[in-house]
Each structure stands twice: as C-alpha cells, then as structure tokens.
C-alpha cells in the first residue's frame, strides 16, 4: 500500500471539504481504482459518471497506472473563457 495525494479544485474542493485528499492505494492501481476509492468518501456525490483526472498535469485515461510520486488532480468540468 502507498498513499497518493489528490488535488481538488473549485466545486470538487467544496464538496469534499478541502484542497487535497490522501488516498491509500495498492501498488499497480489505476485511475479507475483511485476513483472507486474516492466514490466511497463524503462529498463524492458531486462526481459525474466519468470524472476527468490529470496525472502530472496531463489528462489521464482511466486505465493509466497511478504512482505515489505522481501529481494527481481531479478536474471538475472546466469553464474558462
């Protein structure tokens, strides 16, 4: 097991109650595994069916592996402009 830190922004940060979450994950876990863990937490009802996740500042597919050293962020629906 290792712990990954997930950055949260905007509506997600409000819903989960802070700017980061520390999530324990087994080695070899994917973005989908991480999302499953997140869905068990209070505030997770805000998440859509397929939330966007960024790893090291790039959008990641849900089968991408997650490493404890990665910069991980959950990206709410963007609304720039």
């Amino acid at each position: 097991m290792s712990t990954v830190t997930v950055q949260l922004f905007a509506s997600y940060a409000e819903s989960f109650g802070g700017p980061t979450l520390d999530i324990p994950l087994k080695s070899g876990s994917t973005v989908a595994d991480l999302l499953e863990e997140l869905r068990s937490l209070p505030g997770a009802s805000i998440l859509p069916n397929s939330p966007r996740v960024a790893i090291n500042r790039k959008f990641a597919s849900h089968d991408q592996l997650v490493d404890a050293h990665d910069e991980i962020a959950l990206i709410p629906p963007v609304a720039g402009g």
Binding site: F9, A10, S11, E14, A54, P76, A79, G81
Partner: protein, 146 residues
C-alpha cells in the same frame, strides 16, 4: 512571438495587439471574452475565476503550439485572468497575427474553443440576489452552493 499566461491583473486587449503588430502582417485578430450581466436569465454581479495554474498554463502552451501547426500562426498571445472580475471586465484575450486574415480568424477561434474544452479554469458566478454557483457547462444548471 508566442506567449500564454494566466494573469491576476486587468487585461489590456490593445496592449496585446501592440505587442504582436508588425509590418509583415496584414491581419491581427483579437478575441476578448468579457463578464456578462446575465446568465441563464439570472442577474450576475461578478465572476470569480480560479485555476489549476500549472496545468492550465501547460495546456495553453499546448493549444498555442497546435494553433501554430494548424494555421501557420506564430504570433499569438493568450491571456486569461484569474480572480474576481466585475461586469464588463475582460476575462480572456487572444490576439493572433498573420499575413492574411483567414488564418488569424481561424487561429483565434480555435484557441478559445479549445480553452473552453480543456484548460482547467473554473468560474463561480455571483448573482445580484446574493447567491452563487459554480458554472458547469456539462449540465443545464450548475450546483447551487448557497
């Protein structure tokens, strides 16, 4: 010149034009997004923009590189403002210069459309009735937070 930035100061669209102007160009196209006073029929008093800054700037760089490839535009400036903006203020400005108008128009349009799809910037609308809401373009209405 190619430059992208998130800024916390007022955006001056005229300054963007001035900084890419050159006698080698016959066209400069400017897009400026501004804070409107209504949203879905509700009176807006201000918009608070926030961002995942490092990723937003990386995505803007990527979009600018794509625009250079697609349209042959190498003179491009993109600024997006972060923070609380009043009605009428400029939230985003894109200036593209080219020898001819079509690539300048196409480049500007491409950049704003891509910003709206994939740059991690969010806006909280504040309404004149005192409520506020995160804007979620994927839903008909956002999440009312109070």
């Amino acid at each position: 010149m190619k430059r992208v930035a998130l800024v916390t100061r007022a955006i001056d669209p005229a300054a963007l034009i001035a900084s890419i102007a050159s006698t080698g160009y016959g066209a400069i196209c400017l897009f400026a997004g501004t804070v409107r006073d209504t949203s879905d029929g509700r009176g807006v008093s201000a918009i608070d923009y926030s961002a995942y800054t490092s990723m937003a700037e990386a995505e803007l760089e990527q979009i600018a590189a794509e625009a250079a490839d697609r349209f042959g535009v190498t003179s491009l400036i993109v600024e997006h403002r972060i923070g609380v903006l009043s009605l009428g203020e400029t939230s985003v400005a894109i200036a593209a210069a080219h020898a001819h108008r079509a690539p300048a128009f196409d480049c500007t349009r491409y950049v704003i459309e891509e910003i709206k799809k994939r740059v991690p910037i969010w806006k909280m609308e504040h309404y004149i009735d005192g409520t506020r809401e995160w804007v979620d373009p994927t839903r008909a209405a956002g999440v009312t937070t109070k």
